[in-house]
Symmetry: C2
């Protein structure tokens, strides 16, 4: 019989690609007493979560809720509910997360037109326009608003305007974007947008906020085939969130109560103030890290402030440096993914971590390690 002691986590400053640090009030909220998922009190909390998510997404979309899984479950929800076998979809692939959308769409039976761009570059809106002229029947165009693997911020407004008067939907991954950089779901004509809780919202991982426009909902309602996933089937799940409260699956109560507190904090700060804070702190870090012989891997003019892919010169062993940063300074940053593995860091200054103090602590630690 294994005798396992209690889990007592070490103190960490979380400056990687997520999870970001969580405020004690949010941690406390998710440890409040358990209640049932059909309890009238909890259904009221779920309604408040949906209402607050609408504010953070800047949308009037009725179908706005938190998927019972992490950000990737939000991605899969968006894709599998819109795709029917044989559909064509156009997907921008300029990093890991665009690649996942393409992979998931293929599993759902779609033919994928992948618009590949070098890592660190945006997908030019004119490339989307050209692809759409070739395939005007596309079910959706998918772009990643905030590419967590490269630190690129994708412009969305032009493509949104282009798609608004067509039958093609606009699907957007804003896992790392939401509450960190401007995102205007309604004004920009975005049809399906999903996010994660553990980035700029500052809530533990486990839920995926998602919103569907009436145009997207109509596509779901007019499907001729069954959605391939039972767990993520929007037509069933929406009955629980905004319909007759029919039981589908047991909602993750603690996580939703935690998200409730996190959203309260976001709205208390104010969304624009939060965007401005992320912008200022991120630019400060990006300016100073370049003095340390590091480069920024995202193209100039399209850099996310909250997530920076930092390229190290060959002489630097990024893995060793990163382990020492964790072991000696208690600071977590992320390693590079894919093309950037072994030569880059991913530094997140998200939510509670978007402060001057965090930037100072990280730069001091880096200086200490590079000197040592």
């Amino acid at each position: 019989m294994v005798q396992v002691p209690p889990a007592n986590p070490p103190e960490r400053l979380l400056l990687g690609p997520g999870p970001s640090p969580v405020h004690p009030d949010v941690l406390a909220a998710q440890s409040r007493a358990m209640v049932g998922h059909l309890d009238p009190w909890f259904l009221g909390v779920a309604d408040e979560v949906a209402a607050m998510l609408r504010q953070v997404f800047r949308t009037e979309n009725q179908l706005t809720y938190a998927v019972s899984g992490t950000g990737s479950a939000g991605m899969e929800t968006a894709v599998v509910n819109l795709v029917e076998p044989g559909d064509t979809v156009i997907v921008g692939v300029n990093g890991v997360f665009g690649g996942r959308i393409a992979d998931t769409a293929r599993r759902a039976g779609a033919e994928v037109v992948a618009l590949e761009e070098p890592w660190g570059r945006i997908v030019p809106p004119e490339r989307v326009a050209a692809a759409l002229r070739q395939r005007p029947d596309a079910r959706f165009v998918a772009l990643v608003h905030a590419e967590t693997s490269t630190g690129v911020q994708q412009p969305l407004e032009e493509v949104g305007a282009l798609l608004a008067d067509t039958d093609t939907l606009f699907l957007v991954d804003s896992v790392t974007g939401l509450a960190g950089v401007p995102l205007e779901v309604d004004d920009w004509h975005l049809d399906v947008v999903y996010s994660g809780t553990q980035k700029c919202l500052g809530v533990p991982p486990g839920l995926a906020p998602i919103t569907f426009s009436p145009k997207a909902e109509a596509v779901i309602d007019q499907r001729s085939s069954t959605v391939r996933s039972w767990y993520l089937d929007v037509a069933a799940v929406r009955r629980y969130w905004s319909g007759d409260r029919a039981y589908h699956h047991t909602a993750p109560i603690s996580a939703i109560v935690g998200l409730h507190e996190g959203l309260r904090r976001v709205l208390d700060e104010g969304l624009e103030a939060r965007w401005a804070r992320h912008a200022e702190v991120g630019r400060l870090f990006q300016e100073h890290i370049q003095d340390r012989d590091a480069t920024l891997l995202a193209q100039q003019g399209h850099r996310l402030p909250q997530l920076t892919a930092v390229g190290w010169p060959e002489a630097v062993d990024e893995g060793k440096l990163r382990r020492r940063l964790l072991d000696e300074h208690g600071i977590e940053v992320g390693g590079g993914l894919g093309t950037f593995a072994g030569s880059a860091w991913r530094v997140g200054l998200m939510g509670e971590a978007a402060t001057h103090a965090c930037v100072d602590r990280l730069l001091d630690a880096v200086d200490d390690l590079l000197d040592g």
Copy 2:
């Protein structure tokens, strides 16, 4: 701008079909400081969770972990990773949850042989044997160990022995069974078993413990088609849990640390002692509730102790009684599903609620309401 106050849950005694009450130590564990999902400390916690799950499942299966979603996500993980389009599967359908397995298997492209039985009855092992003689090519036989919609406990050993020497796998839903009634994954030759955290484990909803036998893992490794789900793809997820720790999706840290504490409590009590406690308390309730003019809807000899479907006579308005129980006594029980909707309660005495005190409080409250 909506001004939302903090969420302060009411005091509830949770005696429904789940979530069950959560011990304060488990609630406290999931509010401990956030750490990264690739932090060496957290990977150690994940290893301990897997080791403790093996003890609770009574298995040596290497591939044992917690799916990042609720019990239904465990169901979908089991089904979609085993089914390839065109496969035949045999599914016992004697309540809601067998029906879900059949539905999910169809979405994954399977031809389903549904063994339908009246609600409240088991699926006779000889019916499974007969179906298997008709379809010896079946990819799996699926049975629900603990039917949460009816309170039926399905015998598994005979079917397990029958399948052990065939190429057909044995898939078992033990969402409500695990840690409440005997379950012997290895001894009974069960190939894939999934559960939920919010039942007899006494942990908040949000994770689905799951285990795969080497025979099941071999079937996954020999698939000729891609799994239809990206999020639940076992071949990718197992690299995080037991392989090279490759990033797939961000694990729900808080929930896993909570499960860690819940499993410690289960093993501290001892699995056999926990089964015995559930058995004794459940029988006590079932004996006494029949004195209140109520009937037990599960067939005699196959009643789960931890979950009882209680049939009320027509004169009783179960919905009104249930609402008054919540409002006046702070006790939650569940309503009937499907066939039993409007005429039955589902009473759970699971985990922390499997005590004489809970039975007394519930019976006293029922007496008070029936008198009033």
